[in-house]
């Protein structure tokens, strides 16, 4: 700044200097002197204000408000019914009458959950993760799968809101089914497309295209595609002699059908991220591996997977977050049916909030969903990140 005040006539030389000789000096001068920008930089708030206003009003405040409302009995229509409710909303979500604990309740799920302790123990021995985080995770696993999931209403008892558990369970089921399916397909397609060919760009665009369709268009297409007498899926089924059933009307198949439609719709997103990740892997590594006589699988295992680790983590974490937010597909295609087989948590939140106007209870459930998403994301970052350090 001072240069300018010294003399306008020197500008031309300054241009040259700053371009050629100055960089070193400028770099040294920039870091230690925080006042250098200060006179004009008060204007920074001018640049920030429009966004910060929107961010505070439409993001920070609503999140805070959701936390607060979770502790209120907040009826939308009847203003007199807005009062402090303490933990009542959460009690209604998680509790019931005649509650008891038994070893064998949800036993398969709990054994699977507890089995996760084995890989944890292994990384404890190898020391590939900070031991404090391993211990935290282990305690969480034992608490959730060993203890909490064993709690259920005993004889003659019932959950206060069994629909909550049904829809949360379905959301988890969707996450568990869709994440490996969509991430795996995205990776497989990316590997297949990652070759020097003029068609790569075209193929990528073709697989990506359904992603730009809106959820209502996607459901329009698939609700009819899957219809046995109207859609093409029924036609293909005929060729193979399958009995035509409407997958969306079958409580066994409805969720799989939704996963399939969602895969078709969104796999392009993962494909794009994987392709970008693959292109960052140094070709020389593959050449070196070839020279060492590595076969295709070995190259995949020892060059591609380590090189993609960051991308894989990113894609998995994002996919899990998106999958937890499933709503539109099921709400439009099945309304949660048949018999609640595809009813997901956000549908439950939406209906409690905007059909029954119990906004406090609906907020409590959305806060619960948020906490679950954050916990799962953090755990994934720790887990998938730790292996990266090891590699």
């Amino acid at each position: 700044m001072s240069v300018v005040r010294d003399g306008e006539g020197d500008q031309a030389t300054m241009h040259v200097q700053s371009g050629v000789a100055a960089p070193k000096k400028a770099k040294a001068a920039r870091t230690p002197d925080p006042t250098r920008f200060s006179p004009t930089d008060l204007g920074a708030w001018g640049f920030l204000l429009p966004f910060l206003a929107a961010y505070a009003l439409f993001m920070l405040y609503p999140v805070g408000q959701a936390l607060v409302m979770g502790f209120f009995d907040w009826d939308f229509l009847d203003i007199t019914r807005r009062q402090w409710a303490g933990w009542d909303n959460y009690r209604r979500m998680f509790w019931g009458t005649e509650m008891t604990w038994s070893v064998d309740h949800l036993v398969v799920l709990r054994v699977i959950g507890l089995a996760l302790l084995i890989p944890l123990a292994r990384s404890w021995r190898k020391g590939s993760l900070p031991r404090a985080s391993i211990a935290t995770l282990a305690i969480m696993l034992v608490a959730i799968f060993g203890v909490i999931l064993g709690i259920h209403p005993g004889e003659g008892g019932r959950w206060f809101d069994s629909q909550f558990w049904l829809s949360f369970g379905n959301t988890l089921l969707f996450v568990a089914m869709s994440t490996p399916a969509i991430v795996g397909t995205g990776l497989a397609l990316a590997l297949a497309l990652n070759r020097p060919s003029r068609l790569t760009g075209l193929l990528r665009a073709m697989f990506f295209a359904p992603y730009v369709l809106s959820v209502a268009v996607m459901t329009l297409i698939w609700a009819f595609m899957l219809n046995p007498s109207l859609g093409l899926v029924g036609l293909v089924g005929d060729w193979f002699g399958a009995t035509p059933i409407n997958l969306l009307n079958s409580s066994t198949w409805a969720m799989s059908a939704i996963v399939l439609a969602t895969l078709w719709w969104t796999v392009g997103f993962n494909l794009v991220l994987f392709l970008a990740g693959l292109q960052d892997i140094d070709v020389q590594q593959y050449e070196a591996a070839s020279l060492d006589g590595a076969n295709a699988w070995q190259k995949f295992r020892h060059v591609t997977v380590p090189g993609l680790r960051r991308t894989i983590r990113l894609v998995v974490v994002l996919q899990v977050i998106y999958s937890f937010q499933i709503f539109g597909q099921v709400f439009i295609m099945t309304r949660g049916g048949p018999d609640g087989a595809t009813r997901v948590l956000i549908q439950h939140i939406f209906e409690r909030g905007f059909r029954d106007f119990e906004l406090g209870y609906a907020s409590a459930m959305s806060v619960f969903l948020f906490i679950v998403i954050i916990l799962v994301s953090v755990v994934q970052f720790m887990f998938l990140g730790g292996e990266e350090d090891e590699a």
Partner: protein, 296 residues
């Protein structure tokens, strides 16, 4: 070329030579061919929607399991535009998506510049607070947002539909990353000339940000056009539906199967702007995804 070489080579070899060539060609082209086939199959559902939308409704009563319209008509589109609210919904979506995109661009570019280049007290705290917003799903905020917009009487209005998305920090994240990667030397010259920050932003930084702004614009437009939950909650009057919520409201009702052609025409109407944009700006959209996801 290949035929002449094979005829000149001695008798015993051509078979082996041909086989080797064939293996080579197969290795090279079969995977690409298979992928291309798969890609075409992948797009059949979209193709099917277009085909049905161009088929007369009477013919659809007989058979819908077709890949090509037996008889092409635009009647379905004409009826969709003349009857019902689809035209209105389309217009709503256009207004809402354009407004959101424009506001997001302005607001994000300014904030991104400030975070990338300006020094101000509190930046070290503020930036993480803003970026943390990327983690928050819409579903957590939509109930309080509903109450705020209720208070301002903004439900069933266009601002009610486009304002909430302006607060999403994705654009700020993209623009900050972009501006931070521009070499400082370019502005330093202007600083020496005594240009104000605002002028530097408008005359130097913004023109350079074209690619990032385009990517952000396309990405925002697509996401807003396809937004479902918020319009479902905020715009409850049929006239104020977006094409996405409007089209959704017509489904799940099997009486509609008798007007499948018109329904598919609505689906086409809802998709065409995005598909056109996608074909033109494919690279930018894909780049927007890589940028917005923290990939490269």
């Amino acid at each position: 070329m290949s035929s002449t070489t094979t005829t000149e080579v001695p008798r015993s070899d051509p078979a082996a030579d041909l086989r080797a060539r064939r293996v080579h060609l197969l290795r090279k082209h079969v995977p690409t061919g298979l992928l291309l086939l798969l890609a075409f199959i992948w797009l059949i559902p979209v193709w099917w929607m277009f085909s049905l939308s161009l088929t007369p409704n009477e013919l659809l009563q007989l058979n819908t399991q077709i890949l090509l319209p037996p008889q092409v008509t635009l009647d379905n589109f004409v009826s969709v535009i003349q009857v019902g609210l689809s035209g209105r919904w389309f217009l709503n979506s256009l207004i809402v998506a354009s407004s959101t995109t424009l506001l997001t661009l302005i607001v994000s570019a300014m904030a991104g510049y400030a975070f990338a280049r300006l020094k101000f007290p509190g930046k070290k705290i503020l930036f993480p607070v803003v970026i943390a917003g990327l983690m928050v799903p819409q579903e957590v905020m939509f109930i309080p947002l509903f109450l705020i917009f209720e208070q301002f009487g903004l439900h069933n209005t266009h601002p009610g539909l486009f304002l909430p998305r302006v607060g999403i920090p994705l654009g700020v994240f993209i623009m900050t990353t972009f501006f931070a990667a521009i070499p400082r030397e370019i502005e330093e010259a202007a600083e020496v000339d005594g240009a104000s920050k605002w002028r530097i932003f408008r005359q130097i930084m913004l023109p350079m940000a074209g690619p990032a702004l385009t990517a952000l614009a396309i990405f925002t437009f697509v996401l807003t056009w396809n937004d479902y939950l918020w319009p479902l909650v905020s715009a409850t009057e049929r006239e104020m539906f977006t094409i996405t919520t409007g089209l959704a409201s017509l489904q799940g009702n099997f009486a509609q199967a008798t007007e499948l052609g018109a329904l598919m025409a609505r689906g086409v109407l809802a998709s065409v702007p995005l598909l056109v944009m996608f074909v033109i700006f494919q690279r930018q959209l894909i780049r927007g995804i890589s940028l917005g996801s923290g990939g490269k």
